[in-house]
């Protein structure tokens, strides 16, 4: 089997997962107690109003028909109307998604940029002072609740030191054409250097708070896989041939050690998405997660479905990308797939 065929299989698997997800969500909305129409209208609405809305929403049709309808909607991008914003959910998502992606991307960048080198350094000083110190940092970062670190950042760097703004994406004195929705890109495209810097100021605290948990994990996994690889015969052989030790570490060892790290990054992406729900609330970040939380609190079911499915799609795609990368980094994975049965 060629590697691309394997990837197609994996992608198909991902799509099947999404389908399963849609069934779960559909099931939760229709089978569990609680009439969506009643929820939409609130406790004060009359029975008649509820019945009417039920018919309008197709709730009186057989379940499978409802599901087909619901899937048709999902596939055509018609996610229905948000009860809260009174707009198409798809439009809302298109508006809020870039803010979340920007936040997550920068957080991921922090995770990788700090996590991997610290892991390498810890591995090289195994059982030394640096190793113990990074171990403590890692413990701290995976143990502290993301929202709490966000609150602490606000308290210290916002309220007390007043170095950073504590909410929002951009100070109100700047106005930017939202071409892509990614403010870092938009401000640069428009040549507004000041605004660009201001976006960074806003991003820094939430992104750091968000990256915290992952950083510790990446650090530890990089450390342990570096140590594993360092013990391999081929690394001893490379050292035995008198190659420069930096070359052995950063070229020959790190590439092998990177494989488990990369695998973890997929899972990490999920936890970043999850934590984004908390961080966006703390920093009033106008992103998808905040939209989702608001929707949950308001029983805005269409919006919840939209947000959930969007995140599912994001998760499946990112794991697909990681599969592709894994095949690139480690030819064994590629070759094994092509060899095995």
């Amino acid at each position: 089997m060629k590697y691309w065929q394997y990837l197609v299989r994996r992608l198909t698997g991902g799509v099947v997962s999404l389908l399963g997800l849609s069934i779960i969500i559909f099931g939760v909305s229709r089978i569990l107690p609680g009439n969506p129409a009643r929820m939409a209208l609130g406790a004060m609405a009359s029975e008649k109003q509820v019945r009417e809305l039920s018919r309008e929403m197709g709730l009186t049709d057989p379940l499978w028909q409802q599901y087909v309808q619901y899937m048709q909607g999902l596939l055509t991008g018609d996610l229905g109307q948000s009860l809260e914003t009174k707009r198409e959910v798809a439009t809302d998502i298109a508006q809020y998604l870039p803010a979340t992606l920007e936040l997550i991307t920068v957080a991921m960048m922090f995770t990788v940029v700090f996590g991997i080198p610290l892991g390498v350094i810890a591995a090289q000083n195994k059982d030394g002072a640096v190793d113990h110190a990074t171990r403590l940092v890692a413990f701290f970062s995976v143990s502290v609740p993301g929202f709490f670190i966000g609150v602490m950042f606000q308290l210290i760097f916002g309220y007390l030191l007043e170095w950073f703004p504590i909410t929002g994406r951009l100070a109100s004195e700047y106005s930017v054409d939202r071409e892509t929705g990614f403010l870092l890109v938009d401000t640069l495209a428009a040549g507004q250097v000041d605004a660009h810097l201001n976006v960074w100021l806003h991003l820094l605290l939430p992104a750091l708070a968000l990256s915290m948990a992952g950083m510790g994990q990446v650090m530890r996994i990089t450390r342990s896989s570096m140590i594993d690889v360092q013990d391999q015969d081929y690394v001893a052989a490379e050292r035995g041939f008198g190659l420069p030790s930096w070359l052995v570490t950063y070229k020959y060892t790190l590439k092998n050690a990177f494989v488990p790290t990369l695998t973890i990054l997929g899972l990490l992406y999920a936890s970043l998405l999850g934590n984004a729900f908390l961080i966006e609330v703390v920093f009033s970040w106008p992103g998808l997660a905040l939209y989702g939380v608001t929707a949950v609190m308001n029983n805005d079911f269409n919006a919840v479905v939209g947000v959930t499915m969007t995140i599912g799609v994001a998760f499946v795609s990112i794991n697909f990308v990681i599969d592709v990368l894994l095949g690139r980094v480690d030819p064994r994975i590629r070759l094994q797939v092509e060899e095995a049965t």
Binding site: G13, G14, V16, S17, L18, G20, L21, I24, I25, V28, S29, L32, P33, G34, R135, F139, F140, V142, S143, V144, P145, G146, F147, F148, V151, M152, Q154, L155, Y159, L160, Q217, I221, S224, I264, L267, A270, S271, L273, G274, N275, F277, L278, V281, V282, G292, V293, A295, V296, M297, N299, F301, V304, V307, T308, I311, G312, F315, V316
Partner: protein
């Protein structure tokens, strides 16, 4: 001619009692060794101590808390938002309740959540993982596809989605998380079983005539226990974090119940002046989670297993 000089230690034990003492001594040595390894890591011991202290304090909260009545609906606006003092070591909240007492009761809720989620999730996950890994084929495909589906969303988001359809209460949040948690253990156990299945000792047991139940539960399961134990320890911290997160955004523990996340959330409204209101509950979460992580890491070293959270 050489008998007396050749042989060391091939003598047979003379009596039953001698044999018994050898056995118990060996078992004791095994445990002593594991314990010695464990205590040689100060951080693991610290983790265990933290957990023990917190668990005991939480269990005894009605007795040890300075103001047990502050755990629920209680107001004393005169005492609101007081900083840490001898009366209120960790200050008071916006309606005058003692933060320390509420933290102790908050721990009860967090630990209960850990118990419910793991008590349901772990056995279900382990059994499904055993079955999937042992039988392979379609059974495996179906179970693992289901698992992947449930894993396609961050647990927090999934719990949000489910609680939104139900009512945002502590029980529903626990239900939602428990309904998903088994997947992690299914994954873990399935991957171990899939590799153990090809080990020759499994084939040997099959050749000996052992049935699937014997092979799964008597042969393979014991080999998955230490990674499961490590994972459960790390999971406990994770569940507490998720629970606190849900409470923080308002779909977990509902006021006036003393959820740790709820308290942080309420406290943020009184920053920066009444910092203790948000900071101490946050630290409380952090300390307990840290305890579980340190313990888990220590166990991981003792058992020498690879488990990621």
């Amino acid at each position: 001619m050489s008998t007396e000089t050749t042989d060391a230690g091939q003598s047979t034990p003379e009596s039953e009692s001698l044999l018994d003492s050898v056995v118990s001594q060996q078992r004791r040595e095994l445990w002593a060794r594991a314990w010695k390894r464990f205590v040689s890591r100060p951080m693991s011991v610290a983790g265990l101590l933290i957990i023990l202290v917190v668990v005991v304090a939480a269990l005894l909260a009605p007795v040890v808390a300075p103001y047990p009545e502050h755990a629920g609906k209680y107001t004393d606006f005169a005492a609101a938002l007081q900083g840490p003092s001898l009366d209120h070591p960790l200050g008071t909240d916006h309606v005058g309740r003692d933060v320390l007492s509420r933290i102790l009761f908050g721990y009860r809720l967090s630990l209960m959540m850990v118990g419910v989620v793991l008590g349901f999730g772990v056995p279900v996950g382990v059994v499904l993982g055993l079955v999937a890994g042992y039988y392979g084929g379609w059974t495996e495909t179906i179970i693992m596809r289901l698992t992947d589906t449930a894993l396609a969303l961050p647990p927090l988001v999934m719990a949000l989605a489910i609680t939104s359809a139900l009512q945002p209460t502590l029980w529903n949040a626990m239900l939602a998380i428990a309904a998903l948690w088994w997947t992690w253990h299914t994954r873990l156990v399935q991957s171990i079983v899939a590799s153990e299945r090809t080990e020759e000792y499994v084939q040997a047991a099959e050749l000996a005539g052992a049935g699937p139940l014997h092979v799964m539960f008597r042969e393979i399961l014991p080999n998955t226990l230490s990674p499961i134990l490590v994972k459960v320890t790390l999971d406990a911290g994770f569940v507490i974090l998720i629970g606190a997160g849900l409470s923080f955004i308002g779909v977990g523990v509902q006021p006036p119940q003393p959820g740790l996340g709820t308290m942080v959330s309420q406290g943020t409204n009184y920053l920066p002046d009444s910092w203790w209101f948000a900071v101490f509950p946050g630290l409380a979460i952090f300390i307990l989670v840290m305890g579980f992580n340190m313990l888990g890491d220590g166990l991981r070293d003792v058992f020498d297993v690879e488990v990621n959270r």
